[in-house]
């Protein structure tokens, strides 16, 4: 029996769910997320819900790396064995690794998002905070598998994360690793020595953060349009007419980071900027996908921090979200590192983790 914590964006019928936003004040979930039903079916116990910052949107310009999300704290402090959350912008991957926990971001389309409050639909994916990668994959195997309630899923009903591969080769993007501090560079070098390693050039890395930002803001702007004060959640008082109701409700109910994302979304989707920004970002997203060479390496190793500027660091976490790849972050030799594998190859990440921890 595992003790599991759910972040406040995963719905449980009859329980208040706010995703950390005033706009969902008083909202009682009318349904239970598929992952929750699956957890309960396997005998796990939901022990708590974890607070989160609004919709999981961080401040992209202020370093808040010392503010650890509750979903990570509960695993770090032993309050829970696991927690589930949706790490879009890398804060959870970084904080988990830096506090001695692990974060597993599964392949897009393998874990149902039914009952997850949507933010960036083409990237949203429930992930697992855990103490070790093999343990995390055990829990993941309980919640992964096709669900007809989520329209963007692979057909497999189950995933076998236990299958092994004897020899793993790792791709090291040296030019990126060299931007990390000396300790992290040494840790990644030591990690690489345990495997066959090759230098890889992550083409387009310099624009990962821009592509990620444009696409996610566009989708955030769409997804939060549902918060209008009409059918559920917060409604401002003292409004004069329907338009005033919308504006007052959203202006009072949403936080400033969400407002920034919404406004950036409106910009990149507007008539004059759609082609140079949004459409160009979707095309580069394809180029990024096609630039990967998983025939030359099994996993890519990246640091969890290369700059004090969170917007610069966003590039480190964008690849799994943009391309739908599995990824895990953890602490190695006291430094946060992350491993990224090809679609549905979570087992290779786990094998590499076991080799390096042996």
């Amino acid at each position: 029996m595992n003790r599991v914590v759910l972040e406040d964006c995963i719905m449980q019928k009859g329980i208040p769910v706010t995703a950390g936003s005033k706009i969902l004040e008083n909202f009682i979930s009318p349904l239970t997320a598929t992952v929750v039903n699956k957890l309960l079916d396997h005998g796990n116990v939901i022990v708590q819900r974890a607070k989160m910052y609004e919709f999981g949107i961080p401040n992209f310009f202020t370093d808040d790396s010392d503010e650890i999300p509750e979903a990570i704290k509960v695993v770090k402090d032993g309050v829970a064995d696991y927690s589930l959350c949706n790490d879009l912008f890398g804060k959870y991957r970084r904080n988990a690794a830096e506090t001695g926990c692990c974060y597993i971001h599964p392949t897009y389309g393998t874990v149902s998002r039914f009952g997850l409050i949507p933010l960036v639909s083409s990237m949203d994916q429930i992930g697992v905070v855990c103490k070790s990668i093999p343990e995390g994959l055990k829990l993941l195997s309980q919640i992964a598998g096709n669900d007809l309630e989520d329209g963007a899923m692979f057909p497999e009903k189950f995933y076998d994360y236990a299958k092994n591969k004897q020899s793993i080769s790792v791709g090291i993007p040296e030019s990126i690793v060299n931007k990390a501090d000396q300790e992290t560079q040494s840790a990644i070098k030591e990690f690489a020595e345990k495997f066959n390693s090759v230098n890889v050039d992550l083409e387009y890395f310099d624009v990962y953060k821009q592509v990620m930002m444009i696409l996610s803001c566009a989708e955030i702007s769409n997804n939060i349009s549902r918060y209008d004060g009409i059918k559920f959640g917060y409604r401002a008082s003292g409004y004069k007419g329907i338009d005033d109701l919308y504006i007052k409700t959203r202006s009072e109910g949403l936080g400033v980071e969400t407002k920034l994302a919404a406004i950036m979304g409106a910009m990149v989707l507007s008539k004059n900027q759609y082609t140079p920004y949004y459409e160009q970002a979707t095309k580069i997203r394809r180029l990024i996908k096609e630039s990967l060479r998983f025939d030359a390496y099994d996993i890519i190793v990246l640091p969890c921090c290369i700059s004090e500027d969170p917007y610069e660091n966003l590039s480190l976490f964008a690849l799994p979200n943009l391309v739908g790849l599995p990824c895990a972050s953890f602490s190695y030799k006291g430094q946060g590192i992350q491993l990224i594998a090809n679609v549905k190859n979570e087992n290779l990440i786990s094998t590499a983790w076991e080799v390096c921890m042996a």
Partner: protein, 90 residues
């Protein structure tokens, strides 16, 4: 500083002076960084979703998952079994 008031209106938002200053300055930084994208020659189709799945079909049968009462219980204001909204036509 860029003027974001048109975008506020599109998003049905009205920002305070302090919020507007912060959002404008962030938007300026972001837009400047977005200009890097034009240097990339991207003569390919857009990639909107990473899955190669085109559509998911199920039997065309209506399913009632959430009752009227449950929906109404979340409505900020309700009247006589309906969600109440202000006049939409004057």
């Amino acid at each position: 500083m860029i003027d974001i008031r048109d975008y506020e209106a599109m998003e049905k938002l009205s920002l305070s002076e302090a919020e507007r200053n912060w959002v404008s300055s962030c938007a300026e930084l972001l837009l400047k960084s977005f200009d890097e994208l034009e240097k990339i020659e991207a003569d390919v189709d857009p990639l909107i979703t990473v899955l190669d799945i085109l559509n998911i079909f199920r039997e065309d049968v209506a399913v009632k998952k959430v009752s009227r009462e449950e929906i109404l219980s979340n409505a900020p204001e309700q009247y006589d079994g309906y969600i109440q909204v202000p006049k939409t036509l004057e």
